[in-house]
Amino acid sequence: MLLLVGFLLLFIEKTVAQQASNIISLKNETPIFVIFFLLSLLVYLVYALSQSAKVKDLANKQNKWLKMPQKERFKQYIKELNAEQIASYFSLKNKNSNKNALLVLLSLSLCMRANAQTNDESKNLMGQPGIIITITLLLIPILLGTIFAINKAIKAFHSYSNKSRLSEAEALAQHLYKLQDSDTEQDMEKRQAALEYTLSNSELSGKEKPEDAKGIITNISSEHDVHFTALKKKATPRPSLDKDITKLIIWYIGCSAFWLALGGLIGEYVGIKFVAPDADHISWLSFGRLRPVHTNMVFWGWASLGIIGLGYYVVPTVSNTKIYSIKWGWAALILTNAMVILGTLSLMAGINNGGGEFREYIWPITLLFAVALILTAANFIKTVARRTTTEIYISNWYIISAILFTIVIASTAYLPFWQNGIGETIVQGYYMHSGVGMWFTLYTLGLLYYFIPQQLNRPIYAYSLGILAFWTQILFYTIIGTHHFIFSSIPWWLQTVAIVGSGGMIIPVVAATINYFMTFKGQWKKVSNSYTLPFFFVAVMYYFIVSMQGTAEAFKFTNLLWHFTDFTVGHSHLGFYGIITFAIWGGVYAILPRLTGKEPLQHSVGAHFWLAFVGLLFYVIPISIGGTLKGLMWMDHKPFIDGVVMMFDFWLWRAIGGSLMFISHLVFAYNFYTMIKVKEEDVDVKEQAIKQLELITKSN
């Protein structure tokens, strides 16, 4: 999977660079290709050297062996005979029959075909990207050809040395035939007995039948059918949680799944409008009004409810206690839902806050969410306060801080008596950036610190890396909001701070990525056997990719190229979908079966995963390429409308990817339903019997 993504990234880079050199020649592109070219040459050289060393080594060994006296060599051969060979020796010796059998026994198959090729490529070091690309492409078959030739030569060498081995075998056979040494034969008999010894398989367990006295064995698979897809591990049953908290979490996740399906549908419709602008002429459905409806619905309705719902499971669990108040949880759920409903209606009616992304709901509506956040924060803090563990588990650092910070962010951005002129834009940069990074990312990282170790059944790799990532994330992430307005009228020093801080983001991102992946290390088999871990794996992978991409986008040249284009839309979807959404899905599949005791259909989870994963790539890659080309056209002062025309195909592909994503949301909703549905179940005879027994004993 990583390879696939790597390939795709490479593909983007190549296509874009090629197109770039078509439109305008960019000197900046050259180093990438020189590096790529040198790297592939280096790989080839390493391969060639290792192969030649191997051949030398083989030849040396062969020479040494042949220099030994024949007697010594035969002694060694006899010593190394295996049980079967010894047995046949004795039977042959006793029967004294066909002596050629020994020869057959000891001979090895012969295969030889030599075909040497030599290749020398002359390097023409011209700085032009086009030439370097062409050379690289031409070198691929040439390099493959030389590798093929070297392999053939090694084979030829092998069959040559096999010839001499064959004559050696003949001599050995003669020697064995004539052998009349009882001492040697006695040794051979002893050796045969030793080699043929086997365990009875009951040395440790004895002859008793196995018994699971403590009831710790689960996931017993007694079927031995052929499976077309990997058999995934079932969720571990848990002593069931409080019924009330179960119901609350299910409602949180149910609401969020609904908002995801609806918000995704609206997003899909908005995307279609790029290729069919006359789809409707209804004011409530026009692009300008519907776009914020989509973004806000998936932000607050889907992701916020999703992460808070998962928090209601994680926060008490890692504190080893019960949640402080179920009631507050319900209140926050109702308030958030109310905000999304009212916000959606008001935006469609044309009432908005005036611009700033993710700040489109007017403050009286967002106030509902602020109250919900305060209730949630208080609830979680009070839960942590009565924890039965000494330390506060790192998940709770992240989760509760995320909520507290978001209260600060929302108050800063929404207090209705300041921010005139450019002040509004400075706060907007801070708000939209922190809204993503301090609310969703920080919270989700906290969830991952619980779910990944829990699903892998091993502790997190390094607690200290988590703490390092925590403080550096706060330090760097907070100061870089302005990088959404580079080259704008915002003071230069603020823009510079933002660019430098974006570079600093490497520290928390690398620390967290290493931490998660080192937890995965050595447990990769568990990923393919689980239906939750692939979601978490994708989330961590995108966390790294998207964060680094974000850093790169903040640099001046890339900002020049990509700002205002569809590239940023691709980036935000890669982040919000790839990281947050995949992590929430993984979390839902991890806890719901535990809460309800019902598993989703395995193939249906698989369909969900692949539709979403492939759909996202179909979405992001075309518009990233298209956005880059558009940026180049702008830099080249091409007429604006030409960029719009050029984007058509890319927008079409985006709509196709979006459709796959939308279908995956429906599959997810269905899976959610199968995990919670109350089935008319067959009477469980055992359960009923126990109940009746209870009645009988009571009445007696």
Partner: protein
Amino acid sequence: MDIFNNHRKLYTVATLFFTTLTFFTAILPALKNQADNAPLPDAKPLSKEAMAGKLIYISEGCVACHSQQVRNVDMDKPFGARPGMAADYANIKRTSFFQNTATLMGTERTGPDLTDVGNRQPSLDWNLMHLYNPRAVIKQSIMPSYEWLFEIKAKPAKTDVVVNVPEAFMKGKTGKIVAKKEVLQLVAYLQSLKQVPLPEGIKPMEFLYKKEQKEMAAAGTKAKADGKALYTANCQSCHQENGEGLKGAFPPLKGSPIVNGDNLELYVDIIMNGYDARQEYGVMPAVGTNMEFNEDQIAAIMNYERSSWDNKAKPVTPEEVKKIMDFVKLKVAASK
């Protein structure tokens, strides 16, 4: 360490840390900026009509596709004569108690930047038709139609503003398309969007990353202006790709006596300073002056127009155009 085990300390420290950073990188710069910047001396507050139009601009979410900021980079030059600065936004105050300040700087450019659209496209007729259905004037546009800002009347009153929508975009509707009050306000707002000139003696910021100049300097030759591209970017939205204009709104260039004739002085004057001599057509803006075209670019546009759509006039040279431009400039200065 105590902080690992004491939730009060942990969350207090983290929140204080975050709030401090917030204060120094968001709150303080915002306050300082709004205190330090005043509107430019020539800046005029929005008229009542334009202000009402701005509210419609906000409520329709135009900012989703149109930015209003000219960055100090060369690629933003088509959208304004100088880079924007904080003072340009200084007179924008909170919209209402319920709605935040709307600088409308935007983060996407699915459509062109509108900072200076009032200079670029002042025509009422063009704007109305464009808002009724953008594809009526720009075939490839993907902007939504704002049909609901118009109404259909069988017999419009004398005071009504009628829009001459081409037959193909009427979609079987009968009657006249009349602009509602709201769309007139919206157009008034768009027409008011003009970059305020800097006070005399103050130099604007420079546009950075000037690619073309560097390359030209390196090659030692002048890049040839592309007449077709210039036409597409600056003329096509009215005069159309086929040069036939739009009936009752914008005159055809195909077979036009001015384009094909020998009165180059009038021709250059129209491109540089606009034209409003004919009642049946909309006003033409001063495209050449707004875009700061040089003689090469003007000549390229003229030659493209003179050789396209069956037009067969003899080409003009930049030198000829240069002379006329100087003359026209003098004339304009004299008339002021």
